[in-house]
């Protein structure tokens, strides 16, 4: 069973690594200015890359306990960002400064894939996978 948990954690690490490199690509290569909400999501995502890697060698299930709060906080910010972005919440509620609106559209692949959407997807997947590892661990103990 440890193998299954290891692979699940490995997938979490992959998602975090791709998200990190992807966000750096948007800001450093394509020169999109990151808005303030993006920065808060980065604060939650970037440490996950390191933490998951440490938890993989040797496999240590405790990593789930330390990373789930980060992933959940990131998810909440991403969720809020998406509400603003898709105009479910009014734009005036956005804590943005002049020039770097959190609701300005930079990419829109296939008409619905945007940067906040990608972030929310990544945090959702990571959180679900972490919960899966935790549940598998509980079942093993019984």
């Amino acid at each position: 069973m440890t193998d299954k948990k290891w692979v699940t954690l490995f997938i979490c690490w992959l998602i975090a690594a791709v998200s990190t490199l992807g966000s750096l690509f948007f800001s450093e290569v394509m020169n999109f200015p990151p808005c303030i909400l993006c920065w808060y999501q980065r604060i939650c995502m970037y440490p996950l890359v390191v933490l998951f890697l440490v938890g993989l060698f040797p496999f240590d299930e405790k990593i789930v306990k330390f990373t789930t709060p980060l992933s959940l906080i990131g998810w909440l910010i991403a969720f809020y960002h998406n509400l603003l972005y898709y105009k479910i919440l009014p734009e005036s509620a956005a804590p943005c400064r002049q020039g770097f609106s959190c609701t300005s559209v930079h990419i829109e692949w296939f008409g619905f894939i945007t940067i906040p959407f990608l972030s929310l997807t990544a945090f959702t997947l990571i959180t679900i996978l972490l919960v899966t590892i935790h549940r598998t661990g509980l079942r093993e103990k019984k």
Binding site: F10, A17, L24, F25, M30, N31, P33, F57, Q98, G99
Partner: protein, 217 residues
């Protein structure tokens, strides 16, 4: 799963991610160069509009387009290097100044330099404002009104300058600059284009080499 196998999986993933990132980087930059090169061929005026301030002869082989913001520190730092390039390739390069008004007082300052241009003192004014930029353009406490202390030393007619600043033509230029900057993907200042190709990696040497290569083509 053995520990070795796990290590190999991780190492392979790391290598793939890093290689993928740099491959994407190269492909993206090459696409950008091709895209803007195409605009330069089909729509030269997008890069070099008639109204833009120019330094160097129209017959120059290389046109160096700089999107700058008089209030941006990097533009100030970089300006002497642009002058060095202009001196080194004297007569073969034309500098075309475009504006990217990214700071709170940029538009105000652009109006001043454009109004000074009507009195034939464009480059002097731009250079003087760059020189005093740390005083009037500090990010924490910008004091744009300070510029009125420096400008008289150039022998400008300040009354006329203030009147010219309100010229709707200047506002039209600023709007056009914003539009062109967006079309050309300008998101930082200074942004350079050498014969329509964007400067790939930012730096004095890189810009100099790009101009030299364009002259040899």
């Amino acid at each position: 799963m053995k520990k070795n196998k796990k290590l190999i999986i991780i190492a392979a993933a790391v290598i793939l991610l890093v290689v993928g990132f740099f491959a994407a980087f190269k492909i993206y930059k090459a696409n950008e160069a091709a895209k803007y090169g195409h605009i330069a061929d089909s729509d030269f005026k997008k890069f070099v509009p008639d109204y833009a301030p120019k330094l160097g002869p129209d017959s120059a082989k290389v046109f160096l387009v700089e999107f700058l913001d008089p209030e941006c520190e990097s533009c100030r730092e970089f300006y002497p290097y642009v002058k060095m390039i202009m001196n080194e390739f004297d007569g073969n390069v034309q500098l075309v100044v475009r504006y990217a008004a990214f700071h709170p007082n940029s538009k105000f300052i652009i109006k001043i330099v454009e109004a000074a241009r009507k009195q034939g003192k464009y480059w002097e004014t731009l250079e003087l404002l760059f020189q005093h930029q740390p005083e009037w353009g500090s990010h924490h406490a910008p004091k744009p009104e300070l510029v009125w202390n420096y400008l008289p030393q150039l022998g400008l007619d300040i009354e006329k300058l203030k009147k010219d600043m309100e010229d709707p033509e200047i506002q039209k230029i600023i709007d056009k600059e914003t539009e062109d900057g967006n079309d050309l993907g300008v998101r930082m200042t200074p942004s350079f284009f050498v014969n329509g190709k964007p400067l790939e990696s930012f730096g004095y040497e890189q810009l100099r080499e790009m101009v030299r290569d364009a002259l040899q083509e």
